[in-house]
């Protein structure tokens, strides 16, 4: 199988968000960047599919700043074969602009399968995968927790409110991956060494601004200072009184 995986460089989930001086973006000072956690499931799935088949290639594609080369190297260290960085100064807020750039790159590859994380944990957009699929005219299933292939067809399960949808689709296809699909491997020392010599193409791209203009990035409203009601089970009557009479939630 020829498989492409779209990944993104994002701030680690333990990041404390500080707003930059422009009032519109994250202050990246001291921030640790990682492979978007949902994309790790995509990379892992791609590696497993390639290795089961005994042949094929896993190509990792990222759109991001030059520093995203490190993010791609991490995926190469996990076992991907080569990487492509679509280099931009800034990732636009309009996901369709990102999707168009990725689709233009992916169109050339004649991939059997394209995998993306279901969303990035920074912008929470959850749009790029299905948009790329539409632009490439391939079937797409999002937020997949189980995936099987047989005879040129795929079966995928996705979680919906209060249930699981079981879907069938023909290949080639684009799948977005959710937690639960697999357990992503850690790069081995050997993998990290090997990654240094794997091909990584950096292609500068010019993106239009798109139709989403960022006006402001602000901290969420602070929560009212809480209080300790008491210690041990003795505090339960007071807690319930507060929930009923003060908070009015019971």
């Amino acid at each position: 199988m020829r498989i492409a995986v779209c990944i993104k460089r994002v701030p680690d989930s333990e990041t404390r968000v500080k707003i930059a001086a422009d009032g519109k973006s994250l202050d990246e000072g001291g921030v640790k960047f990682v492979v978007n956690p949902y994309d790790e499931f995509a990379v892992e799935e791609a590696l497993r599919r390639r290795d089961e088949g005994g042949a094929g290639e896993v190509v990792v594609v990222a759109l991001g700043p030059p520093a995203a080369q490190e993010t791609i190297r991490t995926a190469l260290a996990m076992g991907a074969d080569r990487g492509v960085l679509l280099a931009v100064d800034r990732i636009p807020a309009d996901a369709l602009v990102v999707a168009r750039a990725l689709a233009a790159e992916l169109k050339e590859g004649a991939y059997d399968l394209i995998l993306c994380g279901k969303m990035a944990i920074d912008d929470y957009n959850q749009q790029v995968g299905p948009m790329v699929a539409h632009l490439l005219d391939v079937p797409c299933v999002t937020s997949v927790t189980r995936l099987e292939f047989a005879g040129g067809k795929g079966t995928a399960e996705r979680e919906i409110e209060g249930g699981i949808e079981v879907t069938e689709f023909p290949l080639p296809a684009l799948i977005t991956t959710d937690k639960g699909l697999n357990e992503p491997r850690y790069p081995s020392l050997k993998g990290i060494m090997a990654a240094k010599n794997k091909p990584l193409a950096v292609k500068p791209v010019q993106l239009g601004g798109g139709g989403i203009e960022v006006l402001a990035l602000a901290p969420p409203p602070a929560r009212r200072e809480g209080r300790i009601v008491g210690e041990g089970a003795a505090a339960i009557p007071e807690l319930l009184r507060l929930l009923r009479d003060e908070a009015k939630v019971l």
């Binding site: 249930g163 879907t167 069938e168 937690k179 989403i212 009601v229």
Partner: protein, 326 residues
């Protein structure tokens, strides 16, 4: 906004409750310009509950029907919605940011070649353009954006736009859905229902969540008992640590790499409060924390805290809640 299209949801031919929130959000935008709201359902046939939509502010309720559209069919639904947008030329199209809406709205946006503001918690109009606020970094920050396109596409976060009754005609109409035969290449073969009565943590008005303090998977039984005592609207959630340890299913995880929840009441039991967890539940209306460590970060965000042994406190709390609810 003089014309707003509200894209609604049905399952098994029954309207989903979240649809009332979508119509409410759409009505609010339309009211600024004495505009009209068209509610759109894609389905195999008539949808039970469509008759209520006038009450929440739908001027018209259109059901687009076709073969293969009984279950959610991504390509068929996207084509049906995009076609309706081309016919009606609304200024705004509003979706719900549910499992279906999160899948459908980007497809419609790509078909129409316009941007989408997803998972919106606040929306207004400024200088004729939609201005929307949406949580990013799992709610650690709020991003305010202007949508510079017609139509402007939005998906609304569930549990945020409280349904308001604003009676309108709600005139019903059925049209044949445009789109690929049989609903497209992706076919939903089956919907496996979760265990009877189980409520999704993202939708439940009350969430009782547990972390490593529970010590063993079997002890989540204590939280299930407490959730049951709160009634049918309560679900059990979990921290990332216990999901990664395999104690609980990933679908129950609350936090930056799990679900972002906004219940009326969130009870955190044996959860210390890692920043990625706090991000996922900080918009709960009321937060209660039970933890043995007085210095745990969870107490900084909790409205009410009890310090102590959860194995002593939770069973007693369950008994008292049961009594209270009679």
């Amino acid at each position: 906004m003089s014309a707003v299209l509200a894209v609604l949801e049905q399952r098994d031919g029954v309207l989903r409750q979240v649809s009332h929130e979508v119509v409410t959000g759409a009505r609010r935008l339309a009211d600024r310009d004495s505009g009209a709201v068209e509610a759109l359902l894609v389905a195999a046939g008539a949808v039970r509950g469509a008759e209520e939509l006038g009450r929440f502010g739908a001027d018209t309720v259109v059901t687009a029907t076709g073969m293969g559209l009984g279950h959610y069919a991504p390509e068929g639904y996207a084509a049906a919605v995009a076609e309706r947008v081309r016919v009606r030329r609304p200024d705004v199209v509003v979706f719900a940011a549910t499992a279906m809406g999160r899948d459908l709205a980007p497809r419609v946006a790509a078909q129409l070649g316009v941007p989408l503001a997803a998972d919106v918690t606040e929306v207004g109009v400024d200088g004729g353009a939609i201005v929307a606020t949406r949580p990013v970094y799992a709610g650690k920050a709020l991003l305010k954006v202007r949508v510079m396109a017609r139509p402007a596409l939005l998906s609304l976060r569930p549990n945020v736009f409280t349904p308001v009754e604003r009676p309108r005609a709600g005139a019903r109409e059925t049209v044949a859905a445009a789109g690929p035969p049989g609903g497209g290449r992706v076919v939903v073969r089956e919907v496996k229902a979760a265990a009877a009565g189980a409520l999704d943590v993202a939708e439940a008005p009350i969430v009782v969540s547990g972390g490593r303090g529970l010590k063993a998977p079997a002890n989540f039984g204590l939280l299930e008992d407490l959730a049951r005592a709160f009634g049918s609207g309560a679900a059990v959630g979990a921290s990332r640590a216990v999901v990664d340890a395999g104690w609980r299913p990933h679908a129950d995880q609350v936090g930056q790499t799990g679900k972002t929840v906004s219940p009326t009441l969130y009870v955190a039991v044996g959860i210390s409060g890692a920043i990625q967890h706090l991000a996922g539940m900080r918009t709960a209306k009321v937060i209660v924390a039970i933890n043995r460590d007085r210095d745990a970060p969870i107490f900084k965000i909790a409205d009410y805290g009890i310090v102590g042994d959860l194995f002593e406190i939770v069973p007693r709390l369950t008994v008292e809640v049961r009594k209270l609810r009679g």
